[in-house]
């Protein structure tokens, strides 16, 4: 056998432990986890190999490992683990380290990785939107203005054309660009990771794999069912399908609403018939969709939060990135609903304040997306596409 020299990197192992993998040193390599995982392929299954890489601090191997994204965190491995090494949490910690370091500026990744960075993350959008509020208040002549007929219209302060739309477009497309950068970096590291990969035999085009992947992961959530199909663990079922699906339906609905409103606004300038004016009446179909999305999102949030709270700490721990993402989405959803309620209740000060906070949290959600757990929507897709194209998973 060829001689291999390993250089243990205890610093990286420590980083993983801080990112939610604090149990990783308990592993004694019994390989129960690889069998417990119904998704792990027969050839080079995970997460046993990741556990040994993690305890030896093999950063290069882990960061170039698509398998950390194949894991959907069902926790079968943790329930059967004889040592309480929580492989599922270690896999999540590996992903957290990817979020932290994948794209520049990595300073943001650092802020995102612990509660210490939270004030900074909050202050940036808080100051940004406060400055805009101040400028607009000076122009409009009031901090909490009403229209001539006495209604509350947020657009008076946070005027779409010059404030919300350009800022969010820059933020959104900036995040998309960074996600793209991150994905191509991941793709290259997968490709050059452990020797060269060659596919023999007929292959299908990448878009076929992408469509199949989107159907199985997002459309049907089939993988979440596969997740629970492993060996009997003797523990209660732990299916996150419903909660996760609610979140996605909620988000997609709200994205459609945002796109229609923005489209209606800008296209309406050219073709007045298509113009949509905000606030929309409550019975307007787009508004109905918006409120439907908000309710579904809230249901998903409640389900997922209760699930995390009820997790057996013997097998699972929720890490900071988990709570950050849930927290921000909670704040986005709550401030979104409350600003509408305060507006309808004609509480002008509360309405504007809450709407301001809503903008802050929405900005946090999108601007920090490439460094947050939500980044998995791009990175996981990228990794899954890679493994499908190379016949794994």
């Amino acid at each position: 056998m060829a001689k291999v020299t390993l250089t243990p990197d205890s610093g990286f192992a420590r980083e993983l432990m801080d990112a939610g993998g604090d149990s990783l040193k308990k592993c004694y390599q019994c390989a129960t986890c690889s069998v417990a995982c119904p998704m792990a392929p027969a050839n080079n299954p995970y997460p046993r190999k990741e556990m040994v890489w993690a305890s030896w601090g093999q950063k290069d191997k882990l960061m170039a490992d698509p398998d950390i994204w194949l894991c959907h965190n069902c926790g079968n491995c943790a329930e059967l683990c004889p040592r309480g090494a929580k492989p599922a949490d270690v896999m999540a910690a590996c992903r957290n380290v990817v979020y932290k370091n994948l794209v520049q500026p990595s300073k943001v990744g650092e802020w995102m990785s612990s509660p210490k960075g939270l004030p900074m993350l909050f202050l940036i959008p808080a100051i940004l939107w406060l400055v805009i509020w101040a400028i607009r208040a000076a122009i409009v002549g009031a901090w909490f203005p009403r229209t001539e007929d006495g209604r509350i219209v947020f657009g008076q302060i946070f005027y779409g054309d010059y404030t919300i739309d350009p800022i969010f477009m820059i933020t959104f497309f900036g995040a998309v660009y960074l996600l793209y950068k991150g994905c191509s970096k991941l793709w290259n590291s997968f490709k050059n990771g452990d020797g060269k990969l060659v596919v023999i035999g007929p292959t299908k085009p990448w878009y076929y794999h992408l469509l199949m992947l989107l159907w199985e992961e997002v459309g049907s959530h089939k993988k979440f069912d596969t997740c629970t199909a492993g060996p009997k663990t003797g523990q209660p079922e732990n299916n996150r399908k419903f909660g996760h699906m609610c979140m996605i339906i909620g988000f997609v609905s709200l994205m459609i609403v945002t796109a229609i409103v923005a489209g209606g606004h800008w296209v309406g300038k050219v073709v007045p018939v298509l113009s949509i004016e905000t606030p929309m009446p409550l019975t307007f179909p787009v508004k109905l969709l918006a409120n439907f999305g908000a309710v579904v999102l809230l249901v998903g949030l409640v389900v997922l939060t209760i699930r995390r709270k009820r997790q057996n700490p013997k097998f699972f721990a929720s890490n900071y990135q988990d709570w950050y993402l849930l927290g921000v989405i909670w704040l986005v959803a709550l401030t979104g609903c409350l600003s509408q309620l305060f507006r309808l209740a004609d509480a002008v000060h509360c309405a504007y304040l809450v709407y301001y906070l809503h903008l802050v949290f929405v900005w946090m959600l999108f601007a920090y997306l490439p460094w947050s757990k939500l980044g998995h929507l791009a990175y996981r897709t990228c990794a899954l596409l890679f493994v499908r194209m190379y016949g794994r998973g």
Partner: protein, 411 residues
């Protein structure tokens, strides 16, 4: 003040302690819960270090007991209360009725005429037994025991007319004065119904290592033929699942010490009985203490046993009552799904005192092993202290006997 010694448990450690103390001139009482002495060793087919049948070693011990008037033993007996202090204990022992004459009567013919059948616990459920039985041909005391619960109405009438059977015998309580106590309560096989991913005891032809001992034993359920319990066909491919419940914080959070060697020993049973059969042992780490390494080397060299590093984490029944086993070969990084005729779970040793209400004032650790208690003149031996093989059990029995003797000496 008493110079007598009480030994709780009539297994190998307890017998050794009792005999050693008695041969040094002390009165010894053995209290054994089951109807016969010999403990777990009596259930084995062969035992380490020399792979003798249990009758061999136990025969000598039983002989020493028979010849030594200082040893008194009680079977079907349990300590129910204890008072006093070191050097001066009063022990209350409750004796369950045996329902048979107090001398050795061969009731074999009478027993075979009875209709009732009960699950044979001595064979771990692999066979049934008559209501009137002996656990093994060499069972000691050589007296039948009657289990009235499994008698049919016709059996009862028959039994009532037998002058060597007393159906009206009742439980009674006796008191013993002792100066010191040896606790050799031994172990029980870990309950497989807790091992949900290993079939929880519901998979046909997936048995435990103690059941395998009974299968291989000449006075076991198959008279020593190693066959699949479901159809009595000799297996061709046999799988051994190590650490079934051991080294697992969800079950037994320690290594049971001897299961690796037990499985290797059982591979030899298979190899000797079935030359065409092949055994796979799935393990996390192999433990071959001291000179047992030679046994491991012998198994490796035999070509009949494969050792695969990786714990079996899934056991399922498939068609033909075969057993599907999944494990990752951690050396090659490959997830294996293999089908076997017979799967043996190497279940670990759980101390008998675990989850039991013990009337003795014993400090137990969280697993149920005895930790200390020696200042009270109570000394633990054998697998009540830690998982051990027979040799080391006997050594701890001698050690406990010596301590007990020192406690009561000169009183």
């Amino acid at each position: 003040m008493s110079s007598a010694i009480l030994v709780v448990g009539g297994g190998f450690a307890g017998l050794t302690a009792a005999i050693e103390a008695a041969e040094l001139g002390h009165d010894v009482y053995i209290v054994e819960k089951t109807p016969f002495l010999g403990g777990r060793v009596a259930q084995l087919n062969k035992y380490f270090p020399k792979l003798c049948p249990p009758s061999c070693g136990l025969e000598i011990q039983f002989q020493r007991i028979r010849n030594n008037p200082r040893i008194k033993f009680f079977t079907l007996a349990e300590v129910t209360a204890l008072s006093g202090s070191k050097g001066n204990y009063t022990v209350q022992v409750t004796l369950q009725p045996r329902h048979t004459a107090a001398h050795a009567v061969d009731l074999g013919f009478f027993a075979s005429g009875l209709e009732g059948e009960a699950v044979n616990d001595f064979d771990f459920g692999l066979s049934t037994r008559k209501p009137l039985y002996k656990s093994a041909p060499f069972a000691f005391p050589s007296r039948y025991v009657l289990d009235p619960k499994s008698l049919t109405a016709a059996d009862k009438a028959k039994a009532a007319s037998c002058k060597f059977i007393n159906l009206n015998e009742e439980a009674r309580t006796i008191e013993l004065q002792v100066g010191s106590i040896v606790v050799a309560t031994g172990w029980k096989p870990y309950d497989v119904t807790n091992l949900s991913n290993l079939g929880a005891g519901t998979v046909k032809n997936c048995i435990t290592n103690m059941q395998m001992e009974r299968l291989a034993s000449p006075y076991g359920p198959t008279a020593g033929k190693i066959v699949r319990p479901s159809d009595h066909v000799p297996p061709r491919r046999v799988c051994f699942v190590q650490c079934a419940g051991s080294r697992d914080q969800n079950h037994l959070n320690y290594c049971s010490y001897i299961c690796c060697m037990a499985s290797i020993k059982q591979c030899f049973y298979v190899a000797e009985a079935l030359p065409d059969a092949h055994c796979d042992i799935f393990y996390i780490d192999l433990r071959a203490p001291g000179r047992y390494i030679k046994t491991l080397d012998k198994a490796r060299a035999s070509g009949k046993v494969s050792f695969i590093k990786g714990k079996v984490a899934n056991v399922e029944q498939i068609e033909g009552d075969r057993v599907r086993v999944q494990a990752e070969d951690a050396v090659r990084g490959e997830k294996l799904t293999l089908d076997y005729d017979l799967v043996v779970l190497a279940t670990g040793m759980q101390p008998s005192l675990s989850q039991e209400n013990c009337p003795l004032p014993l400090p137990l650790d969280e697993e149920g092993f005895v930790m200390g208690g020696e200042e009270a003149g109570i000394f633990a031996a054998g697998c009540a202290v830690m998982p051990l093989d027979v040799t080391r059990s006997a050594q701890t029995g001698t050690a406990a006997a010596l301590k007990a003797v020192q406690t009561v000496e000169g009183r």
